[in-house]
Every structure is written in structure tokens, then in C-alpha cells.
Amino acid sequence: MSATVKVTVDGRTIEVPAGTLITDAAREAEVHVPIFCAHSKLPPLGACRICVVEVGMPKLGPGRLPVTGADGAPEIAWLPKVQTGCTTTVADGMHVRTDSAVAVKARKGVMEFLLVNHPLDCPVCDEGGECQLQDLAFAFGADFSRMADAKRTFVSEDLGPIVKKEANRCIVCMRCVRYCDEMMGDDALTAHQRGVLTEISSFNRQPLECEQCGNCIEVCPVGALTALPYRFKARPWDLRQHITVCPYCPAGCSVRLGVRGMEILRARGTEFRGVNQEYLCVRGRFGYEFVSSPDRLSSPLLRLGGSLAPAGFDEAVTYAAARLRDIAAAHGPQAIAFLGGDKLNLEEQYLFQKLARGVLGTSNVDARTRATARLPGDAILRATGAGRPSLTLDQLSRAGEALVLGDDLQGEAPYVQSLLILGQHQNGLHLTVAHPRRVKLARSKFGGEWLALKPGSELTLVNALTAASLEAGVPAGVPAEVGAALASLASALGSPEAGARETGISADDLRRAAKRLCAADQKAIVFGRAYTEHPQAAALVQAIENLGWASGALTAKRASVMFVGPQHDSQGALDMGLTPDRLPGYVDPADAAARRPFEQQWGAALDLSPGLSAPEILEAAAEGRVKALWIVADEWVKSAPDRARIERALERCELVIVNDLFLTATAKRAHVVFAAASFAEKEGVAVNCERRLQRSARAISPRRGARPDGEIFQAVARGLGATWSYRTPEDVFREIARLTPGYQGLSWAQLLPLGPQWTSPAPLAGPRIAPAIAPAAAEAGDGLWMLSGGTLFLQGSLSYRGAQLPKLAGEARARLHPDQAQRLGIGDGDTVEIAGSGGSVTLAATLDDAVPAGSVFVPYAFRECDLNRLGAPAGAGLRVRVRKTAAALVGA
């Protein structure tokens, strides 16, 4: 059977892959077949019947030869009934008619039925103007209604704070119910009653208990589900729509911002573009709200005489440049450190480190401000395949086996989580989730395997999985030197049994997980900040590289390991050399030949010694060795691992420059504060977790007084005597594309909205297989393990500046296993004090059996709870003591 078939739609013959649905084939033939219940992410349903078409096959005569009519054309035997295009696959030689009298009557009939009980309230419906039913009624419906009887009515409901339901408008396409099930894995919606009384609601008609993503609203083709926060704010034709890249997580979803005047009124997916299409998580949908916060900085601030006072931009630039010059002159450039930047656009990241390296001459540059240990700048590159063609998000959802290491993807990258759920439902994907907590993906309803490792045994687990993978031998197709290295690694690692004791997972389970991973044709290993911000990060990332090669997830040709970074452009920060030991494109500064293009372009001899990493900068600043800090888009006071030390560091520094949108706790301690523009107010490129470059458009002009970070860097660089003359981010990108290995050949024009993944023809780093051993460090001590991680509704210091997200997130809670709580005498809702080596925090407790006994879980995104007050983690994590307290909650 041929892989493609010929099909004729309304007289146009096209060739499509076998198994294509008629609706898709018709789109290919540029014939419009309307759909309601069909959706690209959902299996065919065939319920709404609007896509009915007439289908026929050539009539066969004697000898199975086609019969031709008088005019020589083959006669078609049309099926007696019309067929639904969304459920019927094409066959070779099939003829489809959408314009015949039969098809037109059938479609008009269905259209009329759809409008039987649909109210004529388009003028007051938020969907009006972008409603598919409205559009199709115009296109295919009659110009009057024969329905003169009473319509059945329902009472409208608020399904929680996000979703407004007007069931009268519902056409029961079941998209919302199925999307919630297939994509979100939440099963929050269902249909009540039957027949004409069918009504979509939550199961108990209470507010939806779900991720509040609002995708049900997005997929609703009519106005049955609308967004409460956007209720009656505007009509669709009022809005200018701009496609930006979501500033929250590394999935890099395209967000279509709807702007009326200077106000962003809503965010939606992009329907047919972007990695996410229609999907947005709750942060993507409501996280833009900080842009119009009244608390935004409206001018640069300068510390003059002890307090911060508004200043002109030029004044602030002149002051900052002069102070930087003085400190560099007095203490050498190594006394200056640049921190943060993984929330910036790619161009700004490049300029940030160019300012540090090329203008000031310091290599103390690090974007990974939360890190608790030094991680080589190319470690993640090597673990994810060194620039080899890598897994796309689409391939991820089609993998046979996906191993999720350490991260709770619900908090870190909700879209990645949804793709895995989709894959599990539709593509036979099997999940293995290694996490101490029973995170969403580890729930039994997703049919995966939960490797519930003991906290602190992360490294042992990855090594044990590697050992189990290598029991079957070295995978075929790895380069010879890798094969040899793996063979010797196998003997060094020992048997999975040793790992089983330490992790608490049986050796059989480990072997089975490794076997599944090795056996799958398309596999995926996903890891993220849980490991890269781990005290044993360097060993863990090395262990993941070992596992990648040992399981066949890394091969000479391809890489199926995905790094889900902490911020939306963390990958860009690594690529652009916001690490102390690598230049853009992971160029080793010690490599004279590779370094030369940068020296020529920048007109400076580069400092060859590796700079200090973020935790080292923190230490050096606290000890007074680093005198000046420039912190960009980072609430470092709250994100640095040790609160006492960061307070001391900021106090001792002679100059602290902060770029931010708000007067954050860090900005309050600065000498110069630059008011920065938000993601919606500037143009630029972000690199997502699949290493895809995407351009984000400028939706609104920057707030008065605020400037894009890139402009700030350029102004200071000029103040320091550099001759930068970038007029637009495009100028910067051109320079990046010229200099940076892996980015060569990319052009600005191809990046909107969905650019390519960058790859390197030759791997940017050789494979390194080495035993991954944690540095002999201080023991973590005793007490409960402090587990922290992302949470769905909040991420980073921007997310709690809006109205919706903090409301949805509620207050910070310490989560304890009921048994553990009972041992400690703690009940649900009690106030507890969590004490670590550095200090304590007080908050309310919640009992949660998803958290293992022997540990306490507090998400780190809450504003009122600064976990770094507990002190820096040691050994394999942070141990704390938890006790019930009568004290009132203490704020930050």
C-alpha cells in the first residue's frame, strides 16, 4: 500500500498521506470544511456533524475497472448517506463533494439545528466577533430562522474564579471536557443530563478543581465558556493582537496579547502557530498582569545621601558608568560581578556579558543566581547532546518512554507536562517519574511508574539507572570512545542493588525503568532546576550525561535529553555565555582560535581566567572581594541560597546596580536602580527548552521612564567609552548569528513567531563519560528534608504582582505527610515554624500525603515566605526542624 493516496475534493485532486481525515485533506485542497467538535489535539468524535460531506468512490465495472461516463470521466458511486469529514479517512481515488446539493442541504440542516437552542445574544456575548458558530452561521446558515418555538434555557454559572459558563450557548461539542481530560489530565468538567438538556459543568457543580488554565475557554467554539477576568472588557475587533513569548517557563509558548489602547486586556494562545497552538497554562493566561501594575518603577533611582531618589536616565547612566570605572580602576575588573539575566531576551543577554567581558574585562558573569554549587558552563550542553539535533516538544509527546528526573513539571513547565499527558493518552507514551513527592505526573491515573526516591539520593538514583542500563551492554551506535568509556563506567558504578538501598526503590523497579528507557525507539529524559540547583549539581548533570549515553538517549546523531530551565530564556543565557567559564556558543575562553572572533568583534583582549559563579560571587561579595554587583531582572535577596550572606554581601558592596520593573527587596538595597521594560514592551528572541528560537513582538510601548534592558546596557557601555551603536535588537542578533557557534546562519526574519531549533553541524563539545561522584562535603545534618519546588500559580517575582495569580495561589503552606504531622503533633492549618541552620520561617501547615514522611514541602514562589532564610543547603540538600508554634505568621 502506498504511503500517499489521491483524493479529489470538489474537483481538486491532491495527494495526501494515507490515513488523513477528510477535513484535513480538504484543508490541503483549500476547500473549507467547517468543524466544531474536531480539534487537532483530540481524537475524532464526530458529534457536531457540521463537517458532513458527500463521499464517493469510482464505480467499478467488470474486471474491477472504473466505469467511465459519456464524457469520459469516471463515474462515481456516491454513498447514500453523507459522511462526517472529521471521522472518515481518505481512500485512494476517493471523491469528496462539499458543494453538491446533498452536502449543502445536510450542512445547512445541521447549522439550523445548532441554532435551534442557541440564544441570539451575540451583542452581549464576549465571544461575539470571534465566534466560530457566528462565522459559520454567516457562511453556511440561512438568513432567517424557522424555529419559532421556545428555546430551552439554563441558568448561568461561575465555575470558579476564571470560567463563566452560559450553558444556553453551548453546542455540546465536548471540546472542553475532552481537552481537560486528554491534555490537562484534570477531568474537571463533565456533561450533566442528556439530550437537549445536556449541560457542561463540574461534577458536583462546585467551582472547578483544576489547574485553572482556562483552556476550556480557549477551545470553546462558542461563548458557552468565557473568561471572567476578561468579561465585557472589550470586543475582539477593539484589540490589537501581538504574539509574544511567555515570560514564565522554558516551554516558550506563544502568547497572543490583546491590547486596547495601552492596556493589555487578555492573553490567548495562537491557534495555529507557536509551539503551544491554543494552549496556555494559568501563568501564561494571566501572568501578563504585572505589566500594567501601578507599582512599576517610573524612572531610574539613585541612592543619594542614604535614600533612593528618582533620577533622570542619563544621570543614572553617567553615575553607574563612573562608579564602575572607578571600582575597576581601584580594585581591578575582577572586583565587579554581573548576575542574573535568564529572564532577558537573547540580545540583551549577549550585550550583558559583552559589557562585562568586552568593556569592563571581568568574567564574573552568571545567570544561575539560585545555584548552590558551581556547575561548569558546558555541563548542560553536553548532557543535552552538545548541539546535536534535539527532541522537539512534539516528538516528546510521541516518545515511547519519558523519564522525568526531579522536576515537578506542573510548576516548572506546565506545557511540557500537558504534552506528556497527551502522549500518554493518545500516543502510548509511558511515564517514569523520579520525584520524592507524588507530583501530578506520578499519579496512578497516568499509568506511569513513580520512582519515589528518598530525598537526597538523587545522584544515587541516576547512577543506579545508568548501571541498570549498562547491564544490557553498551547501546549500539555510540561512538567508539564513548563505548569504551561506558564499559569502564559500568564496572565503576556497581550493581543497581547498591542504589536500591540508598534510594529506597527496589532494584527490580530500577532495572525495569532502565529497560523501558533503553528499549523505547523514541525516548526522552527531562530534567531541570531541581538538579541544576542541587548542591551536587555538577555530579548530577554529569550523571545525566552518562545515563543519556548509556540508555541511547544520546547518540552520535541525535539527542533526546531535554533541559527544562528555571526561566523562559535560561537556555539562551547558557548559549549567550552568562556563565563564568564560557563565551557565547560555549566557546572556551582558553581556546585562542575559537576566542579570536569575539576579541576582534569586541575590540578587546579577553580575560582568560574563569570567573566566579553565582554562589562564589555571593561568597566573595560577602567577604568584600567583589565590590560592585550588577543584578539584572532577579530578586537576588530572595533567590540566593543563603539569606544572611546575601544581606551581608549587598551591604558590603560599594556599588549595586539593579535592573528591574519593580522596587524589589534587592532594588531597595541598590545604589542605582534602572527601570526596565517588561517582556510585552520590547522586541527580542527567547530560546526555549527544545532550543527553539522565537521572536517576541512588542505589544505596547514601554511605560514612561522604563527602558528595555538592552538600551540600558548600551548606554552604560557608551558611558564607559565603548562605541556600541545597535539601533535595534536585530542589529545585536546579526552580531550573535555571526559569532556564535550553533547560531550561525540564523536570520532575524525567520524567527517570528516560530523559529528553528538551533543545531550545530559538529558537536560543540565532545562526550565526557566519567563517574559522577558528589564532592565530599559536609553532611546535610539531621531533621526533616526541606523539599522545595515550583508551584503552578506562581513563578518568580513577577507572577505575584498581578491580580489573578496570587488569588489563585492562596497563601504559602508547608505541606507535611499526615503521619509525619501526627508525630510532630501538627494538625491541618496549624502554624508551624521551620528552622534551618540559617534561620527560620513561620507559616501554616497543610497535611498532604503526596509529600513523603521525613520531609516538608514548601514551594519557593510565594512572596511572603523566603526559604533562603533557612540557610544554604549542604551535602545533598537542606535539613530543617519543624515544630508547631502559637506565634502569628511572620512576614518576609
Binding site: D121, P123, V124, F232, K233, A234, R235, W237
Partner: protein
């Protein structure tokens, strides 16, 4: 020749004794034709609630882009309209308006009408942006709809 002159003067003479067409504006004002399109009004239902639901169809129909509407949700305790939605802001820029009546055509609620008031002059440009307060008829005209 004299004959024609006589005829001409005859017409003049005849008109001299007719009632004049000219009116003494502003002391005297002309009654406009039934379908004259002057200043807009926003109408009310019989019960005094506003007819306009803030659907913005007038704004999108307006060829001069003279209308701005911002809708909001009714307070169920003190509703402005019969439904859930009402126009929180309703503004017409009379400097842009071309009095074509498309807004009236587009309105699904019989809420906007072009009435016969043609006295639209002022000293200040801002004054030509008519707000909802100026456009909405008083409660005493509840239920009033102009005859067309």
C-alpha cells in the same frame, strides 16, 4: 422684449407679497424633517433602564471611527440595563461624526437614534466629545423612540 421684462418683474412682484422662507435664527427655529439626522440620543426602556448594552456594534459600524464604547457588568442590585452588560463609557466625537446614521442601523437594541438637534457648536475641542451623560435621554423620556 418689454414683454419678457414684464414677466420677470411680475415674478419679483409676486414673491414680494409671499410669506418669506427665511427664518430669524436663532430667535426662530426650523422644524426638521422626520428623517433628519442630527445629534444622537441614547434611549431608555419604559422602566427607565438604558437600552444600550455596550455591544459596540455602533462603534464598529461607524465609518468615521467617532464612537468609543467601554462595556462593564451590571451590579445585579442596581442594574443599568436589562441584561448583564451595559455601557460604562459611551462617547461620540462630534468632530469626526459624519451623521450618516450607520450607528442607528447597526444598533440591535434601538438604543441610539440621530435626533433633530443640529446646534452643535462650542468653544472647546474637548467639548465635542459627547459623553454618555450628555447623550442619554432623561428618565422623563423613558420609553421614547423617535418615529422614523
Amino acid at each position: 422684449m418689454l414683454k419678457e421684462l414684464g414677466q420677470g418683474l411680475g415674478v419679483t412682484l409676486g414673491n414680494l407679497f409671499k410669506k418669506p422662507f427665511t427664518v430669524q435664527y436663532p430667535e426662530e427655529k426650523l422644524e426638521m424633517f422626520p428623517r433628519f439626522r442630527g445629534l444622537h440620543i441614547l434611549t431608555r426602556h419604559e422602566d427607565g433602564l438604558e437600552r444600550c448594552v455596550g455591544c459596540e456594534l455602533c462603534a464598529v459600524a461607524c465609518p468615521a471611527d467617532a464612537i468609543f464604547v467601554k462595556a462593564a457588568e451590571n451590579d445585579p442590585q442596581r442594574p443599568n440595563t436589562h441584561g448583564e452588560r451595559y455601557a460604562e463609557r459611551y462617547e461620540i466625537n462630534m468632530l469626526r461624526c459624519i451623521f450618516c446614521g450607520m450607528c442607528e442601523e447597526a444598533c440591535p437594541e434601538d438604543a441610539i437614534y440621530l435626533e433633530k438637534n443640529y446646534e452643535l457648536s462650542d468653544y472647546d475641542r474637548d467639548a465635542f466629545i459627547y459623553t454618555k451623560d450628555e447623550l442619554l435621554v432623561g428618565p422623563e423620556k423613558s420609553g421614547y423612540l423617535p418615529q422614523r
